[in-house]
Subunit: 491 residues, 2 copies
Amino acid sequence: MAKFLTNKDENYSQWYNDLVIKADLAENSAVRGCMVIKPYGYAIWEKIQAELDRLFKATGHVNAYFPLFIPKSFFSKEAAHVEGFAKECAVVTHYRLKKDENGKGIVVDPTAKLEEELIIRPTSETIIWHSYKNWIKSYRDLPILINQWANVVRWEMRTRLFLRTTEFLWQEGHTAHATREEAVEEAERMINVYAGFAENSMAVPVIIGSKSENERFAGALDTYAIEALMQDGKALQAGTSHFLGQNFAKAFDVQFTDKTGKLEYVWATSWGTSTRLMGAIIMAHADNNGLVLPPKLAPIQVVIIPIYKNDEQLVTISQTAKKIKSELEALGVSVKYDDRDTNKPGWKFAEYELKGVPVRLAIGPRDIENNTIEVARRDTLTKETISLDVIKEHIPKLLDDIQANIYNKALIFRKENTFYVDKWDEFVKVLDNQGGFIMAHWDGTVETEEKIKDETKATIRCIPFDTPEEDGVCIYSGKPSKRRVLFARSY
Amino acid sequence: MAKFLTNKDENYSQWYNDLVIKADLAENSAVRGCMVIKPYGYAIWEKIQAELDRLFKATGHVNAYFPLFIPKSFFSKEAAHVEGFAKECAVVTHYRLKKDENGKGIVVDPTAKLEEELIIRPTSETIIWHSYKNWIKSYRDLPILINQWANVVRWEMRTRLFLRTTEFLWQEGHTAHATREEAVEEAERMINVYAGFAENSMAVPVIIGSKSENERFAGALDTYAIEALMQDGKALQAGTSHFLGQNFAKAFDVQFTDKTGKLEYVWATSWGTSTRLMGAIIMAHADNNGLVLPPKLAPIQVVIIPIYKNDEQLVTISQTAKKIKSELEALGVSVKYDDRDTNKPGWKFAEYELKGVPVRLAIGPRDIENNTIEVARRDTLTKETISLDVIKEHIPKLLDDIQANIYNKALIFRKENTFYVDKWDEFVKVLDNQGGFIMAHWDGTVETEEKIKDETKATIRCIPFDTPEEDGVCIYSGKPSKRRVLFARSY
């Protein structure tokens, strides 16, 4: 176990923070609640971006860019929206600094006050729908299928690296449609894109469902979410997709002429995922030795470490190592050969375990003699020695195995930690003792939902799409219920 | 000529604005000075980003992300830096909105005032060097070779789409080195990377040189720039790379232990290019029919347009067109087949000319009979009919030809509009009559530079790296000079 990490079972929260810092993923900045994403962390984010971007384009979307600033008046146009975001907005009030006349350094120039304050976007529905008003006249202009990669700011009081930061990076899709059906279909399509990405690339199984009214996005008629279970038994919302109805079209007066010549308001969706996904990857797979990265998102998939006693040995080993490196790279595998003489092999082993590199190859003089190499996999921490002749076949298969294995491990963990509960005292006990997902009946009211939250800190994570109808009684109120919903404490 | 564009020779500035709007590249937003980059414009920017990112990584750089906000106190630490940027800073002073008690809607909550104001980054040296202080202890921690893709804000009074906007997208490299020599080498390397990108990808020839002291980046010891000549005879600075000496290391107290155990301040560079490159591409190549995109940065390289009178013809043509599309795509060519029945071929021809698509293929029933296709190139507006059998060989070669041709055209234009001038009245006349680059002697003083600027609006764009030493007298003061420098009016 990496000694510098707090033990995961003793203090999960501290273990997480240690890991983010020690694995060089990110750190807190001098600006309250804002993080610095360091190169290794950013390299994982680039992999996430590349694959999501590919999936968005494959489903017909294009990228664009809208302003960072939102005039305060825009913000107020959709009532629920401003209600949801007003309390956490960074506000620009001035546009110039000047030298203080009393020699107190640099101060804000009071003569450079903006007539109307600008909000740093916490999300871009308002500024985007203001533009869409000019873009949409006829059904021929629809659908609009736009995504934006951007930074957003929500002034959070309690922040945690990747999970909740004042500024974060994300993508936000904003689509406009001629019919309700098409918009609903789009919102569903995108939550499925997110789910596919989480499961296939992040190796994180997710539950797809609708949010309860209480947990909906501010301004949405329906919010779909994917919910993942972390190793400490808490849920993490990893992506949301909103059916916005005609709310923003009405707020910004965006109407179009349909095929029959009738004026109609446009239907909308929005959907987003953020750097929070980094937190999900870490918390779903990592262990006391460090990160366990899914091969599909690992910036380095294979590291090769030479074991040698003298320069002569290193020369021979390097020849073989470089050959393996270029052969694997030709197959699309990303490989690092670490022949630095500043650190010993043992140190390097620990370092790449900490950084979650899926496969480690070690090669020494005896391997050269025997035409073999030692292969260690990060997920199981097991080692085997294989012939160099089969390495080109073995490694890609091994990476696939690891990807599948960590997904299955997470899926089994989720199964073992999903509880079908029918009694209130058991509900409370499960939450307090082990956490996890609880499938329980709920009477469908906001009041009950809030009471459950107040008493247990558990919320309705979602109403899963694939849960069958089932007669039952609400876990809290005892009133009748038609289906179970997913409860958990969450990040 | 596209009738909806202002004639380039009559009103260049209006032609530019028309083109940006009509070609769907960008538009002004509701926020003063901020633009919306529309999908077609953003698709070009994505191509620019992808290639620059590849070049940065090939030269050993990695990406990271630092906060949008800079505490005001950081900003003040490097004297020249704050002097250069203070007058154009967007300042965040509050972090919450609330409902007005007098029912006047949403207002800034006065109780949510920040203790220290936050500046939206106009550039990130200060926040980054604050982090570097914690990252750098020993020579082993150097060099740091980091790039960031980000949005920045400079409160400009007069803005123009892509060329000068309050918010813009850019990349900023920030490197840290153990020695002066290494930092200078890095700054030079990166200006050469920019020059290579401008010439090879954008097809825009550039002059590489140093800025005069007056035109240096605020906080730099030396600024290198690439300067391109636009079709109206004005210069456009397309990228800068700064040797920052130890200024930021001293301002943020970043020292390292060198190999001999001595404490030294770290040496720095920074370098950036922005969405302004979009303006350079437009203004270097476009004509009265619209954009002329260099094939290497064109989102659509080839468009295929069917010419048909009935559905039966369309079916046959579509078969052939789709076959061509997939064959070309297999070669890495991006192809759009536009079989929309909402617009006539003539309309489509004009549309793709406006959008600068390098190659247009038109195919009608007679082509099908003859096994031919009509190939039109955007740069020369010429057409030829070729056999379908040779299309796989012809198109990639044609794209290369177009890329080379528009570069050569721009190079010839620059040669014809670069003037070696030795008399002041000729200097003034050239500027007023045709503009262009003027190579002239200068006495090396800030006073003369500023007088020339005041009298003619021309500035020293750079002191070109490759100009030979040559005895002469200053164009303005008559004092002795050792080499010519590059003057022009500029964007």
